[in-house]
């Protein structure tokens, strides 16, 4: 079977880094490019971090494109759990690899137009604020013809928010961009906190990954150890939710996830509820459902998948 053509739009970010490292060793995925955006860290850092992770994963063949330096309208906010650099306490050498000169938005438009032309639409994996995709959609709405699906991590439907009472970080960081994507005609698979809070990376898991991840064991272990929220009241145990990597797991093994279909609305007016994602579970609005919301995850099998994936770094590949 042909590998799935994807673009990963992200803001590394520790969980973004784990997602990238997982995707790098998946021959089922053809990663056309990595786009970066202002999010967990300012654009300069997320871009540098993406470059460093491609070097760590020995996938410098994948081009990296720097995207938007600020949300569409709101002032930038950054993540609170990613350390000073965005990659915890890990110390990576300054990357030798450079970002491409093309802007991420132009790369998205160009790839989607080509995909529409050849009738081989692309799957977009959005792991950060949705600024790049929203900007591309506003410049050239017809690129939807080149997009098979958006698989994104973000939002909180029945679950409470993680940055404010109501809102998940990626949605709060650029609610207008999220609104643009969610009100487009694109098919969307959403991995909200409802899903990601079912997959807690515990210290025991981290020890397990350190044992199997071969040449990336040490940096991976450091990244994962930094991710521990140490908040059993919220998460039921030590550890942190494996947000962004779930997007990659979903692409590789959708059977491990259960979804419910609903229209999703994003609040971008109320300061109190800014960035809240509201799912129309019971058809209270007139619009057709456009989002497959992941509400169930087979956590054990997902961890088994990640163990298997990341053990590939021990085999001298890729």
């Amino acid at each position: 079977m042909n590998p799935l053509a994807i673009i990963i739009d992200c803001d590394p970010g520790i969980d973004d880094a784990i997602a990238l490292l997982s995707a790098f060793v998946s021959p089922e995925l053809n990663i056309l490019g990595i786009c970066t955006v202002c999010g967990n860290q300012p654009l300069e850092n997320t871009t540098r971090n993406a470059l460093q992770i491609t070097e760590l994963g020995q996938r410098i063949d994948i081009p990296v494109f720097a995207g938007c330096h600020q949300p569409m309208l709101r002032a930038p906010i950054h993540g609170q759990f990613h350390g000073k650099t965005g990659l915890g306490n890990s110390e990576f050498a300054a990357p030798e690899k450079q970002a491409e000169t093309q802007h991420a938005v132009n790369f998205l438009i160009e790839q989607c137009e080509a995909a529409a032309e050849s009738d081989q639409p692309i799957t977009l994996c959005v792991l950060g604020p949705m600024t790049n995709l929203a900007t591309a959609l506003r410049m050239k709405p017809q690129i939807t013809a080149g997009i098979a699906r958006v698989v994104m991590m973000g939002g909180a439907c029945r679950e409470a928010g993680n940055r404010t009472m109501t809102s998940e970080f990626n949605m709060l960081a650029d609610p207008h961009a999220a609104h643009i994507v969610f009100s487009s005609s694109l098919p969307i698979t959403m991995l909200p906190l409802d899903a990601t809070h079912q997959v807690i990376l515990t210290p025991e898991h981290v020890a397990g990954f350190v044992n199997i991840a071969g040449r990336i064991s040490q940096p991976l272990g450091e990244l994962m150890a930094f991710w521990d929220r140490n908040d059993p009241r919220r998460y039921g145990s030590r550890g942190g939710p494996l947000h962004d990597p779930l997007v990659i797991a979903f692409l590789l093994a959708p059977a491990l996830f259960s979804t419910e279909k609903a229209r999703v609305y994003v609040e971008c007016d109320s300061e109190l509820c800014m960035g809240q994602t509201v799912a129309d579970w019971y058809g209270k609005t007139a619009l057709t459902p456009n989002v497959d919301i992941v509400t169930g995850v087979d956590s054990e099998k997902v961890f088994a998948l990640f163990y298997e994936l990341l053990s590939r770094y021990a085999e001298g590949c890729p």
Partner: protein
Amino acid sequence: MSKIRVIIDTDPGVDDAIALWLALASPELDVLGVTVVAGNVPLEATLKNACKIVALSGRTDVPVFAGAPGPLVREQVYGKYAHIGAFSHELVPDTASVPPQDEHAVDFLVRTLRQAALDSDPVTLCVIGPMTNIALALGMHPDVARGIRQIVSMSCAFTALGHRVPWAEFNVYADPHAAEKVFSSGVPLVIMPLDMTFQALIGSTDIEYLCQHGGEPGKAIAALLAAFDRTDIKRFGRDGGPVHDATTIAWLLQPALFSCVAATVGVEVSGKTAGYTYADFYRKLDTTPNATVIQSINESGFFSLLKQRISHYGTHEGIHTP
């Protein structure tokens, strides 16, 4: 004296057409490009109109770029004459072909303004439609704002009430989020609000003059103003209709025709009064003014300038590509 480098972002539109012909007949301005946005009519029509306007001026050296086909966040609204669509051949004849460039208007703005920032030679933006293209460009790279000398924007209603809806001027109403992005960008703003544009009404004598002396563009202006008459005696108390957008170009050419005040300008982006704009004329806010708000215009001086420049199209030499 070196020319003023300017990009005109527009949604033609009758008064946009007059603004473009005024700019293209003015040797003080180096028009680097015309970027087009949806607004008065859908993008397809504004683009077609922009190409025809530039073609009719004879300035086929000026590139035209298609931009955003709709606003950032709100649902699309068009101008009062949206049903007309593109100008008919009878109103604005098709002459030399000016096809739109392949490059997207936002990409042209980003490319030109980043280069301008690098060269420390910032460009003036004349923004006479909804501000969608400018907002998108500002979001792409921090150097875009640094490459803008000033944004001269026909937008807002302060002491005047709105025209498309009671609370808002059309260009802001059509994309209030884009206006918010532009107003908060830190770029120096010159705002030409309805308060001022309602003070300069073009009457039949001036229209007749333009028709007689202004060559093809002059005839087209007369035909457009006849087809889309903006006379509103009940509102303005006298004959004649405003030519809003053209005042931006006039300000670049002869700022002495205008009086102004510095003020903080802001916009309501959502709710029932989305697109409502305020100017803090009496310094009630603890903010540094972000805009120069134009308050009055010398009406006869403005129309003298317009007639003088548009007459260039009617002279034997016409307008030549520099």
